[in-house]
Symmetry: C2
């Protein structure tokens, strides 16, 4: 099997010889680890003691390759982050591919290499998987669904309904980088930036954060729908309001400029290496210091606080001193951003 040329065809999804060859020469070869090498339709492992979490995410980003990343590393980071947002240490990933007939084998290998590198860097192996092929025009290159499991350290209880009035809201860095970087690559949008996606695995940052402040109430990564969707979700789950300070929210000049140009709100743009943390106010400075000491939290900031509000509004004091409601994103925003 020469993976420098050739294309995926329907036989690669038929479960026969071509499927076996694709699995052996592309997936097993690059994802190589003892659990995957068991060679069964499932991976067997002895979990560490403690509570576990499971999370799954389908990845349909378009284009597949974008500044700062590709669907491969994104599909690893995305699910690691969803697992980590419970305060968990991610243990294992599974990966299911849905590939369109005619997809270049060379590009598939490039994506798989990127996944393998991301999994290795994160220390979270891809231990089982699946491959399906759909006819030309019934898919779009490749879709990757990853599922992750992780173990939650004893004493850690992080969940969306635990935000309390008075709690501080923290963010680990600038918002909108991923969405704007991807947008810059979409063919018909005609602008270019030097901006790169922020795609990153956040579990090591989370480990540092819970070590410093085990009392963290909520963690969530503001992906699709951005900080606006995430904070509205948390406000609804916890039955609280939130008050943000616009001036405290890091937004790169370039992101702000693109949003201004296209009439987008940076608060509604997807991120792939950011998290929102909510903790008791008394612990906020300690948490901020821990975040800033980690490379993925160098630009961390306290961006607001949780307030009592029966209407569960997220509001923001603007840079001009006014106050506005930060509503749920409505409509399609940026389709296929992750």
């Amino acid at each position: 099997m020469n993976t420098n040329q050739g294309h995926i065809d329907l036989s690669h999804g038929a479960g026969g010889r071509a499927t076996a060859q694709l699995i052996a020469e592309v997936f097993r070869r690059h994802f190589d680890n003892p659990l995957l090498a068991q060679g069964n339709d499932q991976a067997l492992f002895q979990p560490p003691a403690g509570r576990l979490v499971i999370s799954t995410d389908g990845h349909v980003i378009s284009p597949l390759f974008f500044p700062g990343g590709d669907i491969g590393c994104l599909s690893v980071h995305g699910t690691i982050n969803d697992v980590a947002m419970a305060g968990a240490r991610p243990l294992y990933l599974s990966a299911a591919f849905i590939i369109e007939e005619g997809f270049p084998l060379r590009e598939l290998v490039r994506i798989v290499e990127s996944m393998a590198a991301a999994a290795k860097a994160a220390g979270v192996p891809i231990v089982t998987g699946d491959t399906k092929v759909v006819e030309r025009g019934k898919g779009d290159g490749v879709f990757i669904t990853t599922t992750g499991i992780g173990v939650v350290p004893d004493g850690i209880n992080i969940s969306g309904e635990l935000a309390q009035p008075g709690d501080a809201i923290l963010l680990n860095g600038s918002i909108g980088d991923h969405g704007v970087a991807v947008l810059s690559q979409r063919e018909n949008l005609g602008f270019e930036t030097t901006l790169r996606s922020d795609t990153a695995a956040l579990h090591e940052l989370v480990a540092v954060m819970i070590a410093a402040v085990p009392e963290i109430h909520c963690l969530r990564d503001p992906t699709r729908g951005g900080v606006a969707a995430t904070l509205n979700e948390l406000a609804q789950q916890s039955g609280v309001g939130m008050q943000l300070r616009e001036e405290a929210i890091p937004v790169r000049t370039e992101v702000a400029a693109v949003c201004e140009l296209l009439g987008l709100d940076p608060l509604q743009i997807a991120n792939e290496g950011k998290l929102i943390a909510i903790c008791p106010a008394a612990q906020a400075d300690k948490l901020l210091a821990a975040m800033r000491a980690h490379p993925l939290g160098a630009a961390a900031a306290i961006i607001g606080e949780v307030v009592e509000d029966k209407l569960q509004f997220v509001q923001m004091t603007t840079c001009f001193g006014g106050n506005r409601i930060v509503d749920w994103p409505v409509g399609e925003q940026l389709p296929r951003i992750c």
Copy 2:
């Protein structure tokens, strides 16, 4: 949200208000269980003591609805079965949807109801999920990737590399039903049968089997690529050959007729409620009796035995007394059969 009318649009995948509404009114409502109700991007649980397994499968079957089932129940059964083939008791499922813009909401609800019913019947809740939407023409209705985890009872060691020369090969019933039932629905094939897919969750049958014969060496469900692919996989993994007896393999008259007509080999046709079991010959009758006592094993049979063969061939004594090699399926066979 009136789920009797309307269609999925890109806003349902954008992470904002429409996504939240779809999750609440379709997925959470039908899959309803305490873990899903946690409402986070991951589900938290305390696993039972013991070794765990994880398995994932993407489902892209076409058509979405077929005699005896649909993509919904199939996506539940398929992953439960992959988990059960380690001898494991399935605990939880995750489900990730990739939906094409314009897909009727009514059909999505029908599929979700089928998944919910299958999960409930199996006693395996869907505890976390994800929804993405792709533009019209970039998908095909709906794709569903499910991931399952299960717990393996102490003392059970079932794996593809454990087949030994002398072992008996068992099958729990007639082959090819699923593939031929789906084929009968494909628009351009112009034949109809009363045959139904055998789609079923096999974990309860497996529980009965391992209770009777804990020494089972291998279990695998012959889905894509059929019994031929599965036995070749096991022969390769274990470094053995296999000798089947054609007359012992249950094939419905209707399946045999359709295969004859279309030039297909029943051994290469997909099944969704069948399993291959390999156990020491001395335990074969006991295992067969246990299988036959369960509704999903009523037509179980001993279909052959494991032999020494450095070439790892699967061979079969035909009904006419000859011998033929049962090779890996080559080419596309039946695309999108699961």
